[in-house]
């Protein structure tokens, strides 16, 4: 049974600076990292490999240099890493991205039964949280978002029980496999590769699938296949944050506003 972890190479947004003149991102010299949420998706795939003997695959769509990210996954112990890279995949929004990932997953699932697809709950560069659900919808997988614990997995009976992290509480749900799960940081603590693991990974081949493999209609992927486009990027006016109240507002109303804000930032469910 397959467990697939979708990972994305992203610029380290904690180091991203904004050009004060052009108001755009300064990308030069910004290191690329695995999207932090995706590293938990990768770790969980590896844990299920260790515990249940599932075959773990890491999947990434990106430019050719995203191979570095997949090599890291290999160093950690995935059985197979596949890079989905083609010029026609470029400039994709989340819907077009999920199309390519779903096509690759479908192809893998033809060779071996699919159990679980793990995705990070969102990326730190796109912030949209739609790619995982997009994969689930396209492939008809059960969708379990915001998962912070796998309570139980039975690969034989093909059922999984997870805990979802909601506002101020958790929810326990059970679903039949195959499922798509988006994960939050609390799910696990990602492992680091040892030196021997890294050396061994040098010999693992990262396979690249371009569109001659996936054979998708080029009108439906990349920039052309994206229903949204970004017309403008700019800095928020106030870097100092949001202001609630003017010193005379009613405390209860302001408290409600603040609570909504904290809930949306996932800060009250700790």
């Amino acid at each position: 049974m397959l467990v697939i972890s979708c990972i994305k190479q992203v610029p380290d947004t904690t180091q991203v600076q904004i050009d004060p003149v052009t108001n755009t991102l300064i990308r030069d010299g910004i290191p690329f990292i695995v999207n932090p949420y995706d590293s938990h998706a990768l770790e969980e795939g590896l844990r299920l490999k260790d515990r249940f003997g599932l075959r773990s695959v890491a999947l990434s769509m990106g430019p050719p240099n995203a191979e570095t990210t997949l090599r890291k996954a290999c160093a950690l112990g995935v059985d197979e890493a596949i890079l989905l890279s083609d010029r026609c995949f470029g400039g994709a929004d989340t819907l077009a991205t999920s199309k390519v990932l779903a096509a690759a997953i479908e192809r893998l699932a033809q060779q071996e039964e699919l159990g679980i697809v793990f995705c990070g709950k969102q990326t730190i560069d796109g912030d949209t949280a739609q790619v995982g659900p997009g994969i689930a919808s396209r492939l008809g997988l059960q969708q379990l978002t915001l998962v912070d614990r796998i309570e139980h997995l039975d690969p034989v009976k093909k059922v999984i029980r997870v805990r979802r992290k909601l506002e101020g509480r958790h929810e326990i749900v059970e679903a039949p496999l195959p499922v798509m799960i988006t994960v939050v940081r609390e799910l696990n603590r990602p492992r680091y590769p040892t030196v021997p693991m890294r050396l061994e990974a040098e010999n693992i081949k990262v396979e690249t699938w371009d569109n001659s493999v996936l054979e998708l209609d080029t009108e439906t992927v990349g920039l052309k296949g994206s229903p949204t486009w970004v017309s403008k990027i700019f800095s928020p006016e106030h870097d100092q944050g949001e202001i609630i109240g003017d010193g005379e507002g009613d405390p209860e109303g302001m408290a409600n506003l603040l609570i909504d804000k904290l809930l949306s930032k996932d800060l009250l469910a700790i």
């Binding site: 912030d127 059970e174 809930l263 700790i270």
Partner: protein, 305 residues
């Protein structure tokens, strides 16, 4: 233009965030209808059609079923935009809808400029205007980004909705969130008191909020120097350096030594009567209010969650 607003209901209550959807529609100048899996005993104050499914029957979250109920209403209303809160509910349901409709999807909208939704990008460091190529758009709204200027009024025209759809995911109960650690450096939430608390007795207010947030309370140097709080609670260069997920600075002006001790916090809320206090520079949210009134109100609301 028509907007379909997906309101939310939890534990017998309509969520207040539902009114943010109304405010969004107003700002867009759109007509609207509302969708709710909720109860007739907790209706929104809203003038318009409310498509209501009974939460007793469909449970508060049953994704495949909610999706079908919503798609049926969308087919009838043909809205140009379907609006959700960017909550765990909207987070899960909105992409199911955009995929089903092949519609453009914009997450966590914070503003509208010339009818174009604006959303954060790059870990909220930047904003982007996102245009849609499709006739229908699905958006989720960042909490607190849109608000009504006045109290909501009106009573909805009810339309009951039902579906035969069944989901394969089974809900098996809730678990309340767990308590955080006890050590200040390991605490995930810290509520700190500054000179603005006025007198030592008011430290109780701060402790109360910290407790309700399952965190620890801290203090600024003046508070510790006045012996209103123990030194072990001091945050700053001469106290502890902390990096909680949430730091709430109450009545702290923000001396540079204090900022150095807490600026690694992931999210900072400052409560201060002075909107120009230096703490505002590191605060993600600055509440301009008298903490003696605001903090107890906040504590009560948090406890009620």
């Amino acid at each position: 233009m028509k907007a379909l607003l997906v309101a939310e209901y939890r534990d017998g209550q309509l969520l207040n965030s539902s009114y943010e959807l109304v405010a969004f529609a107003q700002q867009l100048g759109a007509e609207s209808a509302m969708f709710l899996v909720g109860s007739e005993s907790a209706l929104p104050q809203y003038d318009g059609t409310l498509y209501l499914a009974d939460s007793e029957k469909y449970s508060e979250f049953n994704p495949a079923v909610h999706k079908q109920l919503l798609l049926d209403v969308i087919a009838k209303e043909q809205p140009a935009v379907v609006v959700f809160s960017h909550s765990s509910y909207g987070w899960d349901l909105a992409p199911r809808i955009s995929l089903a409709l092949d519609a453009a999807h914009v997450s966590e909208v914070v503003d509208i400029i010339d009818d174009v939704p604006v959303a954060p990008v790059c870990n909220s460091k930047l904003r982007r205007e996102v245009k849609a190529k499709t006739g229908q758009t699905v958006v989720t709204l960042q909490a607190g980004a849109f608000g009504l200027n006045s109290d909501p009024v009106g009573s909805p025209t009810l339309e009951s909705i039902d579906t035969d759809a069944a989901g394969q995911v089974t809900f098996d109960g809730y678990e309340e969130a767990e308590a955080g650690g006890a050590d200040l450096s390991k605490a995930e939430v810290i509520v700190s008191a500054g000179r603005g608390i006025g007198k030592p007795e008011n430290l109780e207010i701060i402790e109360g909020l910290a407790k309700s947030l399952k965190g620890e309370y801290g203090a600024s140097r003046p508070v510790v120097d006045s012996e209103w709080a123990d030194h072990s609670r001091q945050v700053g260069t001469t106290g502890q350096t902390v990096s909680p997920k949430l730091y709430v600075a109450c009545g702290i002006s923000g001396a540079i030594q204090h900022l150095a001790g807490m600026k690694k916090s992931e999210f900072v809320v400052a409560i201060n009567t002075d909107k120009d206090a230096p703490i505002g520079e590191v605060a993600d949210v600055l509440v301009v209010a008298d903490l003696k009134q605001f903090v107890p109100a906040l504590t009560e609301k948090v406890q009620a969650l």
